[in-house]
Amino acid sequence: GRGETSSSGGSQAPGVTDTTVKIGASYALSGPLAANGTAAMNGAKSYFDAINAAGGVKMSDGKTRKIEVVQYDDGYDPARAVQNYRKLTTQDNVFALFQTFGTAPNLAIMDSANSEKVPQLFVHSGAAVFSQDQKAKPYTVGWQPTYETEGAAYAKFLTARDQDLTVAVISQNDDLGKAFVNGFTSGIGGSKVKIVAQETYEATDPTLDSQITKLAASKADVLFSAIAIPKLTAGALSKAAELGWNPEHLLVSLVSSVDQVIKPSGLDGSHGIYSTAFVKAADDQQWAADKDVQDYIARMKTSAPGADPTVPNAAWGYGAAATLVKALQETKDITRDGLVQTVQHLTGSVPLLLPGLELHASLTGPPLDRLHVQQFKDGKWSLIE
Amino acid sequence: MSTLELHGVHAGYGKAQVLHDVSLRVGDGSITTLLGANGAGKTTTLRAVSGLVRFTGQILLDGRQVPAAPDAVARLGVAHVPQGRGTIGRLSVDDNLHAGALLRRDRAQVRADLRRLRELFPVLAERARSQAAGLSGGEQQMLAIARALMGRPSLLLLDEPSLGLAPLVTKEVFVLLPRLRDEWALTVLVVEQNADLALRVADHAVVLESGRVALAGTAAEIAGHDEIRRAYLGN
């Protein structure tokens, strides 16, 4: 057969020239997840644009290269993701895949990427499968904390109070929802916190009224919303209030946007709304003067006018892009394997991470593995120590 | 009342030419019958007038070229009873009749016309609320004729009105035609295989052969023609 991944340019790795390094990505830019996919793409783009505007990435061979991103829409269809992968690796000849969006599309290409030794970096998914075993699948690396980690963070937050608490749980019927719930359930094991009601939903459900009504009957003290879709979260919050059920709310970070979720829900946070975060939110007043956040908002405005910087996926995309740039800078051996080597040992900070959080590469988890719990108060999020 | 004139009309379907240089005139207030063998182009002639097939040449209604769209032709007062099932099967008998009169504003007169047609075809009253599709073949034909009349046309195009009608009803329809022509100021162009009856009530007759006018004249002239007698009258 052919060497699928060999480049034409002799010594240099595929996708790398003296002046550019080519990166490929596949996002859900259409379909029901288009909002998140587009946000992730815009976030990353705004960081890359800024780096390129400043000349490019200075790499270990002394050359400064501009980052060229080739991106395609997969509509969250695994078959299209596979096609995009083929196109990016054999036609566009990218150096690495970056931030491909969502669990299923990444799973569909993971085996090929590893057997063909194409780095599949910083996948935009909190599924553990992408990072937990980098000995077996060294070319696939996650970025954000896993959904399990996040679920466990809520559990820790509740158990730390050492009170009898009843919890109602609603989760999306897929690996994402399950992972949140698993992390949470094992986190509360043996504590005074008890799950008293549990519901799931399909991402295609128009509303979650029925599920919330069922959960409301439990009169639980806390509602853990492992809901991945902003409008459904907002609807769930307002439904609970309409039913006269006012639990404390735990919102997963994916849907913690003030503009997208909390304002539409009509809740003011007086009964307690909590979430977790690992990046600074653009709509969080406490960071209004933060340089990272100001840069981020300004760069988003330049690169993707009209896009909303408060969507978490955008901030994550930005942070992941920064992580990639950092990895490129630190890569000694400018080959695909060299890049993966670097990524597996990456430490340090990148823009937008919350104070105290750092990259922390390991072979059994994503480079980010901690989150902070925050509370919604007075119209903004504030970190809880 | 209207005058219909065809001058050098050619028409066909796709590449197949069916009518070749057809010219004929249906005078104001007259009944003209169009005869011809199976496939001669009789239906096509009526369809050309109604705008259902495209043609070249001239078709003039009261001296003016007819429009190309069937609904526009109908709004000029032309009613066309097509060959075979001409009703809207999904609607009730009454709805079919009322649909025939949708363009009219003279409600009282519509009611009177409806009464009259129901007298003529009692089954239409008996089955007023049934779906038209359930009627027998002949009953549907009566409905189609009645529906066309409900529009109070000035030019009535009938494509084999006797199709499926019992002999008695056929006779009644043909007796009615001259009466309506007089009372309602109708001009009639009727394609009919029951040439005997048709020639008896018609003023003029035109014979089509392979898409060309083979003969034209007064009904009496045509009825006296030997070949016509053999092919169409059988006596």
Binding site: - | G84, M142, E160, G164
Partner: protein, 269 residues
């Protein structure tokens, strides 16, 4: 090649016993009685005319025979076999074929294809062998096509084999239906107003044709027709229905002079 009928020994019945026996047939629709206690016989090889005013129940009777309508009472036997219990799609295997009052053709397929459909029940029914395109199937298909062409020629339609059926004039469509019905090799042929849309001369030809195919194909025929000329010319026997009831029966001449038939159906000349 002959197709095995599901009932053997029709030849035995021939002429000895009525081929078609209709007894006490009653059919109602909500509010309408289409047929009431109708009964008559048709002898084997005969041509029976069925006449009556519009809505008398003639087509409905055909529909009962061919299984579209389920009568509330009565029986219909063909060659001694009760046909009411046989599902509609099996009638053609019993040797019953029909034409429709309003031509029912596949307008976009060719005349030949339309006729070939009539031979459907004579071909074997294994999907697998059809998918594998076994040579036997091809051969039978060719034989059937040859037979269909002959029938089309017989009906004067040889020139339009490849014309889409919907493009034919009305009168020709009715003949395509006859060819289609004949290709199923029927023993009983039901014709619903075959002469409608034909000129006088054409009706004459049709009459000759019907008597000829009766003889050539060893057929029993029931024909519904408003064209009295045709009825007189071809029928051995006529049944008249009025308002769903049988009002007269006998030779064409007798029925046409029956006072009820005259007043309800023919009108005074």
């Amino acid at each position: 090649m002959a197709v095995r009928r599901e009932t053997g020994g029709w030849g035995v019945n021939h002429g000895m016993q009525a081929f078609v026996e209709v007894r006490d047939l009653t059919l109602r629709f909500s509010g309408v009685t289409a047929l009431e206690d109708v009964g008559f016989d048709v002898g084997g090889g005969q041509i029976c005319g069925l006449v009556g005013p519009n809505g008398a129940g003639k087509s409905s009777l055909f529909n009962c025979v061919s299984g579209y309508y389920r009568p509330s009472a009565g029986s219909i036997r063909v060659a001694g076999q009760d046909v009411l219990g046989v599902p509609a799609h099996r009638k053609v295997r019993l040797g019953i074929a029909r034409t429709f009052q309003h031509p029912a053709l596949q307008p976009e397929r060719t005349v030949l294809d339309n006729v070939l459909l009539g031979g459907h029940s004579t071909l074997p029914g294994s999907v697998l062998s059809a998918m594998l395109a076994l040579p036997g199937g091809r051969r039978r298909e060719r034989a059937l096509a040859a037979e269909a062409r002959e029938l089309l020629a017989l009906l004067g339609l040889a020139g339009v084999e490849r014309t889409p059926a919907g493009d034919l004039p009305y009168g020709s469509q009715k003949r395509v239906e006859i060819a289609r019905a004949l290709l199923s090799r029927p023993r009983l042929l039901l014709l619903d107003e075959p002469a409608s849309g034909l000129t006088h001369a054409e009706v004459g030809e049709l009459g000759e044709l019907i008597t000829r195919i009766r003889a050539d194909h060893d057929l029993t025929v029931i024909v519904v027709e408003h064209h009295m000329g045709l009825i007189s010319a071809v029928t051995d026997h006529v049944v008249a229905l009025v308002g769903g009831r049988k009002v007269a029966e006998g030779t064409a001449q007798a029925v046409q002079s029956d006072p009820v038939v005259v007043s309800a159906y023919l009108g005074v000349a």
